[in-house]
Symmetry: C2
Subunit: 396 residues, 2 copies
């Protein structure tokens, strides 16, 4: 196990119906001027927007809105947010939405304190050590874990780049996690969010660091919670406990708990980021499509032990031959995504082989997967994995 | 799943050899006057005391010592610590030791800010909402989880009471977790600490709240990490990864992760606290002795599903009949403690039936196990469970 630091001071307020009694007290710690950040308007349909506006109105807050944050939030929106904060002397940012909205809020919060253009901070790729406006979130989608970590991913469609940034001041101060706020999330987004959560777990689980049982066994537990509860939430969208399990899994999958003490970089995220950057597809769907093909591609005599452990501990597969067990585990992963009604080929989401070579080059250029991944991946490997996604697959 | 708040702002510095470069920076945030709290002197034998004193000396700290904290820390020691803090204008408390030392430091930290006698704060049983001196810990024993939570347990031998107290200001600001600092922990204490960790997990796992997969599956993962790594640490005390897994398990087992979102009170701790209060035995050993007997005592048609899940997911028992699976899981728990060389009867730790009735009364009087436990326990139940611990047991 490597040395690590674990410091996650987000104050999680989990459960139903807490906003009326807690939201304004939380915001008042920082001031009265609030930047309200949200996405495409789903919070206007389900009543959450109205509730928040009424609470802030009664509390005499000055509310400025940054709306229309994109599913892959864009740098232009971040710039717009920074300008709004400066013009209105904003004290605290309230992000109401999923990971995209929260990610956008984080870079706005940091951008306010920087003389540089926000994209320059991101492109520098050094993380962010400066100050940021305090962020409070109301989560509406179980997926990215952004509600309880310091990271953000922003897209620049003019340069076809989707890059990450993070820093200690960007972690939300308080996050409200009410599973009821995810009842209206459509089936497709629920499945995509669950795939995203699982991918966060997979990325750190398939790793070369030794002696990390505690991280790995905890990760297996969170995986099993997602695998059990996602189908329930898909079948009965207002099942409170299923939504609650998915929501808390989202936060725990990417707050450091399963990644701390390990080294190496993620593979599928690097490959997926290019799909989203070039085609603007839903992140979790891209991950679901890539993951089983990647697993099968990197399965070998050296990695088989870990994949067999995965098959047994996560999928309950009792198979003595490690290679066969591993393949059954990969098949189970693929089948799970299929039963969640995720389109499991790239053509189904409008991607053909035209840009595979270019995207593969970018995936390697924008990351260190060629040297530091679980199994290092060169451009030709990435392209081969993309190619496996052209048709349906069978692994065991 | 119940509503819950999760706010654990302890800054964990995990891994080897961090003190030389980080300790004084951490302390200097709060001031130069340090109360150094430690136990029976094991840190003098293994060199940790010398290292800390040298670092603080070079940093021009004023160091006052509260030494000799008991394995079940006593209220007299707390009072001594409060007086030292007041006399020396202490800015920060540095607790170097296991859970007892840290627990003592927490109540000293709170006591400094209170006009009441510390025991009166504890006896009031309302928790502690006031201020406290900042606490930094250097953990030397994987067991209680006190390094990452707000709770403390203090004994009063004059009244035969062992009671808990906790409050937001009592959570350590920073905890240094270096697995190497546990290399010299003797076999008996390593086993007792592991039993303590497992008991923290069991107490919340065997619970009536529904829809808590995420908490339960995570808990099963931590249990498996302890069950795998404790025997390794016993056989090879300087196995870094085994010690690392136990150490981080200790913190995660009682920081809220596996208990949040559930209601109900713990059973074995209430029964064990009386054994320690009356006979001053090692807490973890008392828990190990009681736990399998308690499990078997509360196993019934209503609880069998949970015990069968435990047998399968934690012990890997593949047995279709739920009742038989449950019994095998209980047997596996008992056998595990035996293989860790834990004395598994009360007479082996010097306790006979003389005070069973009195202790059973106290266990019920000092807790709400009669109404709020997984399976409610009256005085006669507690006495029957104590009685089961007089001789070796067999469950399956």
């Amino acid at each position: 196990m490597d040395n690590f630091r674990f410091y996650v001071p987000t104050d999680i307020r989990f459960g139903k119906d807490r906003l009326n009694t807690e939201l304004t007290d939380v915001l008042d710690v920082y001031g009265k001027n609030v930047l309200l950040v949200y996405g495409g308007g789903s919070i206007k349909k389900n009543g959450l927007y109205k509730q928040v506006i009424e609470l802030l109105g009664k509390n005499h807050n000055k509310v400025v809105e940054l709306s229309g944050v994109e599913p892959n939030p864009r740098i232009e929106t971040v710039r717009r947010g920074v300008a709004l904060c400066r013009e209105n002397d904003v004290n605290v940012i309230l992000a109401v939405g999923g990971g995209s909205t929260i990610d956008c809020a984080k870079v706005v919060a940091a951008g306010v304190y920087s003389d540089e253009d926000p994209w320059d901070i991101i492109v520098a790729r050094k993380g962010y050590q400066g100050e940021a406006l305090p962020i409070v979130t109301i989560l509406t989608l179980a997926a990215t874990g952004s509600e309880m970590n310091a990271g953000a991913v922003i897209s620049n469609l003019t340069t076809n780049q989707k890059l990450g940034i993070g820093g200690p001041s960007m972690i939300p101060k308080v996050s409200f996690l009410d599973p009821k706020n995810t009842f209206t999330v459509p089936t497709y987004q629920t499945a995509a969010g669950s795939a995203d959560i699982l991918s966060h777990l997979f990325e750190s689980y398939f790793n070369v660091t030794e002696g990390t049982d505690i991280q790995d066994f905890v990760s297996e537990g969170i995986m099993r919670a997602v695998i059990k509860n996602c189908p329930v939430a898909l079948a009965t969208p207002d099942n409170y406990d299923a939504r609650a399990n998915l929501m808390w899994s989202s936060s725990l999958a990417l707050n450091g708990l399963t990644r701390n003490g390990k080294h190496g970089v993620w593979s599928c995220h690097a490959m997926e980021h290019e799909l989203s950057a070039f085609y603007d597809i839903t992140h979790g769907i891209g991950l679901a499509i890539l993951t089983p093909r990647w697993m099968n591609y990197v399965l070998n005599e050296k990695t088989v032990t870990r994949f067999a452990q995965f098959a047994h501990n996560v999928w309950g597969i009792n198979e003595k031959d490690p290679m066969l067990a591993a393949k059954k585990g990969i098949q189970a992963t693929y089948d799970f995504f299929k039963t969640c009604d995720i389109p499991m080929t790239l053509p189904e989401v409008g991607i053909d082989e035209e840009k595979f070579e270019e995207m593969a080059k970018q995936a390697v250029a924008h990351s260190t997967i060629k040297t530091e991944a679980f199994v290092p991946l060169a451009e030709s490997d990435v392209e081969a994995i993309y190619r496996e996604c052209l048709t349906e697959s069978s692994f065991a």
